[in-house]
């Protein structure tokens, strides 16, 4: 067993009114991949930010190879050989790959940047990581997965001993994830200590050696991953036995009612080709497929975010055309977008304002909802969806990811839609909230007779919640599975193209 590379002991961090971290210990050995797990708000991000110098700690010590360190900025942390790759790639998309890797510490010759060396060394670096890319091309000419790996390459190049990966796989598909894992394993063999933060259990079990679990800012424990069954890990994270986590759909699949929406040969260039689809009331239809398969694009067409070039939409038998989200909303369609931060929340507004925004937009600026009524609506939905807020007047950007997501779902439920489209509603949020959202989806379909389109990268949760699965590949619908056909083998086969 190798010596601890990094030791964090008795870490405390307070925010106004919140104990974000209380007496947390964390140990990382050289040459191990260590998972950091916990629900949203458990303190994972705070712990990482303390380690990387984004926040100063209020108490405790950090030892790096036996030397106490107290980085006051990410740059200082980097100098202490701690590098971080964040969930959102924070590089410059319009600079070349090589520039991105060396930005801020370009090798110089006679006071000028030595581009030859930059490109040559970048080339070596990407070859080491087995990335077949041209380092002189701009970063945005590559997929997010590649960008992520470039970020890792940059981190590796600064000669880091500790590499922190904060939700690196949340926007990657299965193939890309595997490539990323190959890179991470190579770094592990080189003796690097890797901290891996993710919500994907499969990935944790596949990749990691040990796991540290946090809950409510406190340390739950540190475990060998091989000796900790999954259900036990989950119950440690949530702090309660969650028997129903596996059986959201236990009451039997919701019964499909009358036809709500039909799409006939809907096409839009570069988005989707010849989509035929029928959605009934009271059913949950999953759109399965890889990123870029057309699942989001199909949903956007149904919501007026993009216009079909061919084909027609029929709502309750009548042809409709949506030229904007507002028109779709007037026809009782709601769309909860994929990227919560960019397309969902209005960060500087309060939770109340975020919740009533959709309804207010539907009513128009001149039919103002009185403040009293707004407060009543906000309270009702905060209670119904159990959104954790200190007050409805709290700014939404200060909520954890899961609670932000719930508030956005609330925004759409307030508009009382007939068709609710949820694009990756459970991405990047904790398992407890995930289970709540899955349960809610089934309930809405069953009790409110809503038609729900559910898009997710996690096939498991789609299998658990959906009555019908539409599988998309390369911007085409390739299969439709119902009832007993919905099992992971069939779905995987359809996604992969083996049907």
């Amino acid at each position: 067993m190798s010596e601890p590379l990094l030791i964090m002991r008795g870490i405390y961090k307070y925010f106004p009114g919140v104990k974000a971290l209380q007496n947390v210990d964390f140990t990382l050995r050289a040459g191990e991949i260590h998972a950091l797990m916990g629900e949203n708000g458990a303190g994972k991000s705070t712990l990482i930010k303390v380690l990387t110098g984004v926040y100063p700690r209020d108490a405790g010590e950090v030892l790096m190879e036996g030397t106490p360190i107290a980085p006051a900025s990410p740059l200082e942390a980097q100098k202490a050989k701690i590098s971080t790759v964040y969930q959102e790639v924070n590089l410059c998309p319009n600079l070349s790959v090589a520039e991105n890797i060396f930005i801020g510490r370009e090798p110089k010759k006679a006071g000028r940047i030595d581009w030859k060396t930059v490109n040559r060394r970048a080339e070596e670096l990407v070859r080491q990581l087995d990335l077949p890319i041209d380092v002189t091309k701009t970063l945005d000419s590559y997929a997010v997965a590649v960008q992520q790996m470039v970020a890792i390459a940059r981190a590796v190049n600064v000669d880091a001993k500790v590499l922190i990966l904060d939700e690196p796989t949340s926007s990657l598909d299965e193939n890309e994830t595997q490539r990323l894992f190959a890179v991470v394993r190579r770094l592990k063999e080189r003796g690097m200590g890797v901290v891996f933060v993710s919500h994907f259990l499969d990935q944790i079990y596949e990749l990691c050696d040990r796991v540290t679990v946090l809950r409510n800012g406190e340390l739950v424990g540190e475990y060998e991953i091989g000796k900790l069954p999954r259900m036990e890990l989950i119950s440690k994270m949530i702090g309660k036995e969650l028997g129903n986590i596996q059986s959201v759909n236990a009451g039997g699949a919701p019964q499909a009612g009358e036809i709500l929406l039909e799409a006939e040969g809907v096409s839009a260039f570069g988005r989707i080709q010849n989509l035929n689809l029928t959605l009934h009331r009271g059913e949950v239809v999953g759109f399965a497929g890889l990123l870029g398969s057309g699942r989001t694009e199909a949903a956007e067409l149904l919501f007026g975010l993009a216009r079909p070039e061919q084909g027609a939409l029929k709502l309750e038998g009548k042809p409709v055309r949506f030229s904007s989200p507002l028109e779709a909303m007037r026809h009782k369609i709601a769309f909860c977008p994929e990227d919560r931060k960019v397309q969902g929340i209005i960060g500087d507004l309060t939770v109340r304002e975020n919740i009533i925004l959709g309804l207010q937009a539907k009513k128009g600026a001149w039919s103002h909802i009185p403040i009293k009524e707004q407060e009543r609506i906000a309270d009702e939905y905060i209670r119904m969806l159990q959104i954790k807020v200190s007050s409805p007047e709290q700014l939404i950007r200060n909520l954890s990811g899961g609670n932000q997501q719930k508030a956005i779902i609330a925004r759409w439920l307030v508009t009382e839609p007939d068709l609710l489209i949820l694009d990756e509603p459970t991405r990047g949020i904790d398992i407890g909230t995930k289970a709540e959202i899955q349960k809610m989806i089934v309930q809405l379909a069953r009790e409110k007779n809503m038609s729900i389109v559910f898009i997710s990268s996690e096939i498991d949760e789609m299998i658990r919640t959906c009555t019908r699965l539409v599988v998309l590949r390369d911007r085409k619908k390739v299969a439709e599975l119902t009832g007993g056909e919905i099992n992971s083998d069939r779905v995987m086969a359809a996604i992969a193209g083996g049907v």
């Binding site: 769309f335 507004l349 600026a365 001149w366 103002h368 909802i369």
Partner: protein, 342 residues
């Protein structure tokens, strides 16, 4: 300590603090600064003068606040002021016999409508053609004075029709200048619209995250359109006041650089130039503060050529106080002091 901090972080603190400083300074430096006389049913005094001039700026900065809240900017306001004066004065006519060729109210309405069309133009460029606000409004900023010149045939147009001068001065029998009533009226209108409609919420939403606003069903384009139209209307009304004060249309100098004062007022009031949350009360106090500064500097004998230098110094100060970095430094210092004392 906590209360003090709360006070400092309030968006009204900075403009009020600056205004307070100016007033205290004037109390010592300008004899009779606070003196108000009541003559012939009318109030006179330096304070009244300041409020009179500030009213123009208040109305301008109302328009500017909403534009800035959507993440835009309108640098054509000054030129639109010139257009407004030119249209109104030309319609009333410069005949030296003190009569009007067109009824005053009608001339004013037409002038404001023309300015509203200027706003429509700006709104069209920004929201429909997606031209960057600074560039889009730069067009009218440069062209506006030329348009005003065309309207007046290159001349200054003096107006001898007395009721016209009432807009920028005092209606006989009223204790206060008309400008103040107009400014109060506009402010009340804005407050009413904010209370009774969701326009304010929508503007902020667009300014904070326009993509999410669109996806939540807001018509982002029409909201952006609207704020530029309102800015045009505000500039139109301000232009009437400005022309009335000198009883003439002066296409070259009317409202010159006033858009910059308006932007400064909005910034001073705590609204970030990047858009999002806006503070009407802050903009109003900001406008009054800037006018007080201008008047104070004139009273000190600073020439109008040197005035911008002094204003620039104030801008630097504001920027420093608003920067997060400086705020944090100040907070840390006061925090350390508190720790030392404890």
């Amino acid at each position: 300590m906590n209360k003090f901090r709360k006070l400092i972080s309030s968006h009204l603190f900075l403009p009020l603090f600056a205004l307070g400083l100016l007033l205290i300074f004037n109390a010592f430096a300008t004899p009779g600064f606070f003196h108000i006389q009541f003559q012939n049913g009318q109030l006179f005094g330096r304070i009244i003068d300041i409020l009179n001039r500030a009213s123009v700026l208040v109305i301008l900065s109302l328009g500017m606040t909403f534009v800035i809240a959507t993440g835009g900017i309108d640098i054509s306001q000054g030129s639109v002021i010139a257009i407004s004066g030119a249209v109104c004065c030309s319609l009333i006519g410069g005949a030296g016999d003190g009569t009007a060729r067109m009824p005053l109210v009608l001339a004013c309405l037409i002038a404001v409508t023309v300015c509203m069309l200027c706003g429509v133009w700006n709104g069209f460029l920004v929201s429909t053609l997606k031209i960057q606000p600074m560039v889009a409004t730069l067009i009218l900023m440069t062209a506006g004075r030329g348009i005003a010149m065309l309207i007046t045939a290159g001349q200054n147009v003096p107006v001898y029709y007395t009721p016209f001068t009432y807009i920028g001065n005092t209606i006989p029998g009223s204790p206060l200048p008309t400008t103040i009533y107009l400014a109060i009226g506009m402010v009340l209108l804005v407050v009413l619209v904010q209370k009774k409609t969701s326009v304010g919420l929508f503007i902020q939403t667009v300014g904070i995250n326009s993509k999410a606003a669109h996806g939540s069903g807001l018509n982002v384009n029409s909201i952006v359109f609207l704020v530029y139209i309102f800015s045009g209307i505000c500039a139109g009304i301000a232009g009437l006041m400005d022309a009335s004060m000198i009883a003439a249309a002066d296409p070259n100098n009317a409202g010159l650089n006033m858009e910059l004062d308006a932007i400064l007022a909005v910034a001073l009031g705590g609204t970030l130039l990047s858009g999002g949350k806006y503070y009407i009360s802050g903009s109003i106090i900001g406008a009054i503060t800037i006018q007080t500064l201008t008047t104070t500097l004139y009273a000190l004998g600073v020439s109008s050529e040197q005035l911008p230098v002094c204003k620039a110094l104030v801008v630097i100060l504001i920027c420093l106080l608003q920067s997060d970095k400086v705020k944090r430094l100040l907070e840390q210092r006061s925090y350390r002091k508190a720790v030392d004392q404890a």
